[in-house]
Each structure stands twice: as C-alpha cells, then as structure tokens.
C-alpha cells in the first residue's frame, strides 16, 4: 500500500493524539504498511508532541514492529513450546534453506518475509505456520515448502 499521510492521520485521530495511544497507533500503522515507514514515525511524534527518539524506542522494544519494508507475504512460524516439541524448528530450517535467507529477513524481490512468533494460541494444532492472518495447522517441513511454492505461483 502506498504511504500517505492522511491514512496515518486518520489512525492517529481514531486513537486520539495522546501519548497513551502510541502503541495502538503504531500497531495499526505497522499492520497497514507491513512496517513502520520513517515518515509515519515522524508524523506520529509530531502529532503526539513527543520526541522522535521516544517513538523509536517503543518501536524497537516490541517484537511486532519492523522498521524495514517487509514482503508481500509474511510467514510466521510458531516457536511456542507446543510447536517446538512437535517439530517447529525443522520447519524454520527448511524454510531458511528453501528461501536461502535467515529468519527475520525479507527476500530481495520483497516477495516474502520469514519471521517467528511465540505462540498464536492454536497450540492443539501444532506445529503451526501463519501466513498473514491464516493459520496452517499440523505442518511439516515438506508441507511448508509446498505452501511457499503455491504462494509464489499464485502471485505470478
């Protein structure tokens, strides 16, 4: 989605331009653009009358935020305990190998970002992988590999 100040402003207005809203505003901006554009951070700081550094400190404290653009597909492999004992780590290894990148990185063509998440609350279906808001249950390395292939085919 193209960055535009009006969208950021309407998010700020929704929560109210007060310091207490900072986290909620950043969450919505991060969701909308899949990361926190620098212009947005500056706008938030300006409207909430706080130093840019304070906005940055909150943005870097919480795991959810990304300061760099992320892929069109964001894959979250669950690293919660249930998923760990049921083979989550092998899914990550396979994805890293398949995509030739490390967890936390984004592919150069901005197709995919690979991240981990500490439990999405679907532990009975472990191990799980999330793509955007869709949860894939009882995954294996091979099933995940296939999923990435399908996603890429769907895109082209």
């Amino acid at each position: 989605m193209e960055f535009n100040l009006q969208d950021v402003d309407s998010i700020i207005d929704h929560w109210g331009p007060k310091p207490a809203s900072l986290l909620q505003i950043l969450l919505d901006v991060n969701h909308q653009y899949r990361y926190l554009p620098q212009e947005a951070i500056q706008r938030v700081a300006q409207r909430l009358s706080m130093p840019v550094s304070q906005v940055y400190s909150v943005a870097s404290f919480f795991k959810v935020f990304s300061l760099k653009p992320r892929g069109r597909v964001i894959m979250h492999v669950c690293t919660g305990t249930a998923c760990h004992v049921k083979g989550g780590p092998r899914i990550i290894e396979r994805l890293e190998q398949d995509l030739n990148m490390k967890t936390g990185e984004t592919s150069e063509d901005l197709f995919v970002t690979l991240e981990t998440v500490n439990c999405v609350g679907a532990c009975a279906a472990a191990p799980v992988v999330m793509v955007g808001e869709v949860t894939y249950s009882e995954m294996t390395p091979s099933k995940t590999s296939l999923l990435v292939k399908e996603l890429r085919e769907k895109e082209s």
């Binding site: 809203s21 909150v58 919480f62 305990t81 249930a82 439990c119 999405v120 679907a122 009975a124 279906a125």
Partner: protein, 617 residues
C-alpha cells in the same frame, strides 16, 4: 437494541429471548475456536445456513458459531442440540448429509462420530466421550455453547444475572467478602488471592481507579485465555464489571496480545453490545454505577504480561517492569489504584457470585480452590483445553482425559508454568495438580500450560529452548537477568553442541540460584526454573551430553548421525536426489551411504525414504 434501565428490564429481556427461541427445534453448534477455526470450522457456517435456507427451514433451526469446545485435536467440531450429538473433523462436503440425517431427521452420520481408540466403540453424545466425561467444567463450560458474537445468547443462558444480583443490593464489601470466601486465587501465574487484592484496591485512596484484565497470555503453549476471551467475552466482562463495582473503579482495560486478533475483535464487539444494553457505560442497569472498558493490544513482548510492565505499556511507554516496592493496587496505571487480574480469574467471578463463595471453596484442595483450565498440548493424543478440579492427579489429565501419548511412545515429562516453570517427570505422574504441589515439585502452575513430552524430547534442548526465549524477552533493565540468562544460554548451547565441559552443570546451578535472588522482576527471578528443574530430574541426560557426547533422545544435532540401514536400503536413490547438501552417495539399486562430514542433519532424507531405511544414531 433498547437500553435496560433496571434489573427487571434484564429479566424481561431474558424471558423474551427465550420465548423467541421456543420455536427452534434444533441448534447446530459449530466450533469457531482457535483450533477448529484454522481447520476450517468457520467456513461451515454459511454452508449450513445455505443448506437450511434452500430447504426453507432456516427459522426452525439455529446455526451458531461458538467458542472452543476444548477437544481441539478433533476439530472442526459440530454438535447438534438438544441431543448433543458430537461430530468430529467435519468438512464442507459433509454438511448436506448432516442436515439430511441428523438435523431434519434423527439419524446419525456414523463415520463422523467419535470412536473410542481402545474398543472402537462409537460414542454419540459429547459428554459421554472420555475426554469430556473426566472433566469438571465450570468456568470453561459455556465457551463451546456460546454464540461468540451474540450477547442475547449469553443472556439466554443466565448471563449478567450475577451482575444483576450484585447491583440489586450487595454492598461492594459484601462482593469482596464473597470472593474472599471462595478462596479464588489469581490464574495468571502468581496465585495471589483475588479477594485480598480487591480489598486493598478498594481501600487505596484515589478518585479514579482502574480494573484491568491481563490477556497477554505470554506462556507459549497456553491458550485458555484466548479461548475464553474470544469465545465467551461477556463472561470475562461481567466479571470485570462486578470487580469494578467492588473496588470502585470507573475505567477498565483489557490488555490483549496482538497475536490474538480475533479475541480483540470479539471483545470489542462484546463491549459495544453491552454498552447498548446499558450493561456497561453510564449508570449500569439504572444503579448509578458507571464503568467503561477499553481493549488495548500488546506488541509481542513477554515481559508485558508482568503487572507493572503491562501498565507502563498501557501508558504508551516501553514495557519495562519497575521494582515491587510500590504496589499497583495503590499506584498502578497513571499512579492510580489499579486492580489487575487474569482472564480466567475474571471469568470465575460471575460463577462465584451466582453460586456462592462457599460453593466454589468446596471444590479443589485445601489451599487451591475451584477448578483450573489446562492447555494440554504437545505429545498427547487428545490435545485441547481441559478443566478439572484443583488437586486432580496428573495421571488422570494425561491418560484418562488426554488419552495418553501418540505412537505408543513413553511419557517422559510435562512442562508446566511456561518459561517460568519447570518439568514434572514421569515418576511424579500421580501428583495432585495444584499451586502447592507443583511448586514443591520444582515447577509452578503458571497460567496452566501443560506441554506433554515423550521419550523423543531432549530435556537439555527444552532448557535451551526456554533460555533462548528468555534471552530474547528479557527487557535488559537489570544486570542479573540480562547477563545471567545469556550466560546460562551459552553454557546450555555448548552442552547441546557437544562441547560441554566438566563443571558446566554445577555452574548452571550456581548461576540459577544467584539469579533467583537478585533479579528485579518475576521474569528474571523465575528464569532459571526450566534449567534447574530439568537438571534436578534429568541430570543423567545432561551428563550424557557432557561426558559421553551423546543425546539420548536423539535431538541435539551435533551429537547425532544419520545412517542408512544396509538391509533395508533398496538403492532407489530418492534420498540422494532430495539431499540438499549432496551428502548421500550410491549407485542405482545399490545401498546408499551418508557422508557424515557433509551432512547438516536436516532430516530431509529420513522423511523421503519410503523404505524406512534411514535412522538417527
């Protein structure tokens, strides 16, 4: 929706809702909980609706998307009332048949019924299935019955009657007394008596006070809070409103992890509905008491589940804990009196008010009252959410309810209390599970996560897993935690990597003991637990890693090798083609071999061999 101005209005509404439902012949409950949702449960709703409307019988049958039924391993689940016929693993293609046979008719779709793994016997009714029969469902009872996004459904089952009872004559002190009598202890980890906390908050001086709900559910592997908040949000809200009245709060917050978008959505939805009925907001039920509740999302930091960090985060700051010398019940959010309880704690309150504190206190053990919801997951057949009375033996949870370990493997341990807890080994399988007994066993209740581990789980790897988690989640404010966790992680990583040294195990114990003393908040104080408890019960496994360079569970990569069995290998070449490292050599139709030096132990070959010729040593 019209506003309810009195307790009588609420009762009239309830009668009206129930009268309207008289004409409904059957109710189809489709599970929309976290497990079934991802399995496609949510997509069944429109299919059922369409099917019924094509037959022009929509008015006589009610289709509801409910919260989690608990038996998530068998999802997507569909239950047909009034007989409560239980169908498991239901997919779209089966809907027409279910409607035809069980909804319009009274026949069963045999192959969708639960079949007992031992006897093969088909079980028809939900509550006859051993998984449910062994439980004592109170707090979690209605989640699977409840139409998650419909306040009328909650009201039809008696919802908000506890609030009505409180507002029609109970003094705040009486409410607090009832909760104290119940013996209810916080379900978020600490186990602090809820009534005592409420009393201190009521007594604290301040014009503005807050009630808060901790839905940060940081224990990775626990999801009962998600299930409750998402599936039955009004039960949690009703508890909070009662609590708000008791302590004299005017504002409330639900702090929910962002990883649970559906819980946030359903809770917001519920707040809007409650407000339009006048059950929340100004002048609740005409009583003069007013309370507003807002939902805030977290940002994915485990430490924000800690009360003071949570409040800092609500203020828009980074989530760093502060020292415990200032109590949040006196000076919490914005330095005002604040009462924080866990989702499950709040959800218990309406039951206590309706059925009395004495009744609640009659369940459970001497110092742990009531029931507890556990998230029983990992290497277990019936993974799901289980509610049992405090003091229920672990064996009953793992075997009678949980159905034992899959694949005929041996039960090894259960991890409870998440990153702050520890492992309870097989030899303690008869342990009655409550706050005290778990603590004595070197673990803790935590929020109720129970990760079942079998013989294929390496306990040193488990310790490393939690240390990695904690090293990432430590906020870094105090040195003992920041440095201590990192040091422990280095040592455990070394042990897993086959480079453990004599004295490492002792050093871990030493470090753990001093961190427990010196760390500032609960995260650091309890961070050594997963290590100390695994050393305590599985020292031999640590020693095998250090002294014999061996991982008995065959998990730690540096200590295992993949080998091909000469007798089983047909020389099909599949593994050779699949191996990403080119580590497998062999001519067609001849036995293949793995070059140990090139192999990165990814396991792809093992997965790809159709003849079971590859194994780990």
């Amino acid at each position: 929706m019209s506003r309810l101005n009195s307790v009588q209005d609420l009762e009239r509404l309830r009668e009206e809702i129930n009268r309207k439902r008289d004409s409904i012949k059957k109710r189809i409950r489709i599970c929309g909980g976290p497990g079934c949702y991802s399995g496609g449960g949510v997509h069944l709703v429109p299919v059922f609706e369409e099917n019924l409307s094509q037959r022009q019988v929509s008015r006589e049958y009610m289709v509801t998307l409910t919260g989690c039924h608990g038996f998530c391993a068998r999802g997507p689940i569909v239950v047909i009332e009034p007989q409560n016929i239980f169908y498991e693993r239901v997919h779209k293609e089966r809907v027409a048949e279910i409607v035809e046979k069980t909804v319009l008719g009274d026949a069963l779709v045999e192959d969708l019924l639960y079949s007992d793994p031992l006897t093969g016997e088909k079980i028809v009714r939900e509550r006859d299935i051993p998984f449910y029969a062994g439980q004592e469902r109170i707090i979690f009872n209605d989640t699977g019955l409840n139409w998650s996004t419909d306040i009328d459904d909650y009201i039809s089952r008696g919802g908000y009657s506890a609030l009505a009872k409180v507002l029609s004559g109970m003094q705040p002190e009486q409410v607090i007394e009832e909760v104290k009598v119940s013996g209810l202890r916080g379900r978020g980890g600490g186990g602090f008596p809820a009534g005592v906390k409420w009393e201190s908050c009521r007594r604290a001086r301040g014009e503005i006070k807050y009630v808060m709900c901790n839905a940060d559910e940081g224990d990775p592997g626990a999801y009962m809070d998600r299930a409750l908040l998402e599936g039955n949000p009004h039960q949690v809200l009703e508890g909070m409103i009662i609590g708000g009245y008791a302590i004299g709060a005017t504002e409330g917050y639900v702090y929910c992890r962002y990883e649970y978008p559906l819980a946030v959505k359903n809770c917001n939805w519920a707040i809007q509905q409650a407000k339009s009925y006048g059950l929340l907001g100004e002048n609740i039920l005409g009583s003069g008491f007013s309370l507003d509740i807002f939902v805030n999302r977290g940002g994915g930091a485990f430490v924000c589940g800690e009360s003071t960090a949570l409040m800092a985060s609500l203020e828009g700051k980074i989530g760093e804990p502060r020292g415990k010398h200032i109590h949040t019940v006196e000076k919490g959010l914005w330095m005002r009196p604040s009462n924080l309880n866990n989702v499950e704690t709040w959800a218990s309150v309406p039951h206590i008010i309706n059925r009395s504190g004495k009744w609640f206190a009659s369940i459970g053990t001497e110092r742990s009252k009531g029931t507890k919801i556990f998230s029983v997951v990992g290497k277990i057949n019936n993974s799901g959410l289980v509610e049992v009375a405090m003091g229920t033996p672990l064996r009953k949870i793992v075997y009678d309810i949980g159905g034992g370990i899959p694949g005929g493997k041996r039960f090894k341990a259960v991890q409870t209390g998440g990153p702050s807890g520890g492992c309870v080994p097989e030899k303690l399988i008869d342990l009655p599970v409550d706050f005290e007994k778990l603590k004595q066993a070197g673990s803790m209740m935590g929020s109720g996560g129970m990760i079942i581990m079998d013989e294929d789980t390496c306990m040193v790897d488990v310790a490393r897993y939690f240390l990695t988690f904690l090293a990432e989640e430590s906020c870094g404010k105090c040195v003992p935690c920041r440095v201590g966790v990192k040091r422990m992680l280095e040592i455990v990583t070394r042990i897993c990597g086959g480079k453990g040294k004599p004295g490492d195990i002792e050093q871990l114990e030493e470090l753990g003991r001093s961190m427990k003393e010196a760390a500032l908040c609960g995260l650091g104080k309890s961070a050594p637990n997963p290590v100390l408890s695994t050393i305590h019960y599985f020292r031999d496994e640590y020693e095998a890693h250090v002294y014999e360079r061996r991982c008995p569970a065959k998990v730690c990569k540096a200590l295992i090798t993949y080998v091909i069995d000469v007798d089983k290998c047909t020389g099909c070449g599949r593994c050779r083609i699949k191996c990403p490292e080119g580590a497998i050599l062999g001519a067609k139709k001849e036995c293949h071999v793995i070059d140990e030096d090139i192999c990165v132990r990814c396991g792809i070959c093992l997965e790809s061999c159709k003849f079971g010729a590859i194994s780990i040593e």
